[in-house]
Amino acid sequence: MNLFTPLSWSDSGFILTGILNTVYISVVAIIVGSLLGLLVGFVRAESNKSINMLLGAFLDVLRSVPLIIQLILFTTFIGAMGYPLNPFAAGSIILSLYTMAFMSEVFRSGFDSVPTSTIKAARSLGLNYLQTVRYIRIPIGMRAVFPSWLGVALSVIKDSALVSVIGYMELLRTAEQLISRTQQPIMILIGVGLFYFMISYPLSRYGKYVERKMEI
């Protein structure tokens, strides 16, 4: 009996599932991380020094500890506590928090970029605090930081490969299983690399285009 079988068309469904799972967890992390990041970034832009120091320290931990360690630590910890989560749930939580840590800085600088005089002008028209946030500060601030936001989002897509270490069947883990069956590591890994490139490159070009357009 042959232990290894070569890559074939029948593997395409399996590969597609891996791709979709990568996209799925990335999209979840980018959306949840951006929403939380918007909230945290706003709180940081609005708060005094002491609250900022506290939040900053928490975010520093999230940003400084390697993602792969956070993933393993979190999964091990909740497992030991008796609440094991499936790899998707655990991966989404950690990847979203990690994304939030970076997004909050992006959004904070966006909020800070809106001139105080513009806010005063809006208030003088009778807009209340929340209306000014909703109609003036968020749209102006978020436009200014769109290229940075896209940069973080792209790195999240690439970082999502790390969720494979806790057993989530995304593209890299799918590829590893195919490699152990087919013994064709070079071809498969080049394919995986190409996939990430095909997603990231057009998006980063688009970011550069928007950046240039905004400079005019």
Binding site: A122, S124, L125, G126, L127, Q131, I140
Partner: protein, 240 residues
């Protein structure tokens, strides 16, 4: 009418307003002149409650601006304000800039808000710019947009804070023309300005501020042509 009674205002240790009394009747144009740091702009900010006051009262049509119970967002609808910097909202078109507040503050339908905004924009001469973005316009045009944006709330009072100071000299005229237009409409205005000739031309009353106090107040002829106080004379000799 706007009644300002004994208003004191400090920034930390620095007392900027040291007891200002001033009444502005409906239909009146009052210009405030004086050196930088004399408290002119601060007074406007206090009338609109952008700055708090330390003591005294500012009463607009019987409503105490700085009373805690006053709904300040509602009151501000009566007090249009235009600043030295035009502060256009860069993410909105000219029309959207002017229609935003009527729509979300007054709750008008989008159509009605845009109708009012269009009317005011045509009034200030921006009828052909409705769908442009303000960042593509000159400072003078953006300042006229700021005036139209404030007018779209249909306020009975307008406050102007050195609205021509940040403009290139060749653009000052078009903004002053817009202010003349408003005066002719009978708008009640308080103008903090460095344009002495303009103040003389449009004002019913001119107040000269010096170090947080009104040093001299009266008709333009009294204050600008025949100033009685030495400090007024000194100031005018420097700027004229």
């Amino acid at each position: 009418m706007i009644e300002i009674k004994g208003v004191h205002k400090s920034f930390g240790d620095l007392e900027v307003l040291k007891g200002i009394d001033l009444n502005v009747n409906r239909g009146e144009v009052v210009s405030i002149i004086g050196a930088s740091g004399s408290g002119k702009s601060t007074l406007l900010y206090c009338i609109n409650a952008i700055e708090k006051i330390n003591s005294g009262n500012i009463i607009v049509d019987g409503i105490d601006v700085h009373d805690k119970k006053t709904d300040i967002n509602k009151l501000r609808q009566n007090l249009g304000m235009v600043f030295q910097q035009w502060n256009s909202f860069p993410h909105l078109t000219v029309l959207e800039n002017a229609a935003l507040a009527p729509q979300i503050v007054k709750g008008f339908s989008k159509e009605k808000a845009q109708e009012i905004a269009t009317k005011e924009l045509i009034h200030v001469g921006l009828g052909d710019k409705l769908h442009e973005y303000p960042t593509r316009m000159s400072g003078g045009q953006q300042q006229r947009l700021a005036i139209a944006r404030a007018l779209a709330m249909e306020p009975p009072y307008m406050l102007f804070d050195e609205v021509t100071s940040a403009l290139d000299p060749e653009l000052v005229g078009e903004v002053l023309d817009t202010l003349r237009l408003l005066r002719d409409d009978g708008m009640t205005m308080i103008c903090v300005t460095h344009e002495i000739a303009f103040a003389k031309e449009v004002s019913d009353k001119v107040a000269f501020f010096h170090e947080g106090l009104i040093e001299e107040i009266g008709t333009p002829q009294q204050v600008l042509d025949n100033p009685q106080r030495e400090r007024t004379q000194q100031f005018l000799s420097k700027v004229l």
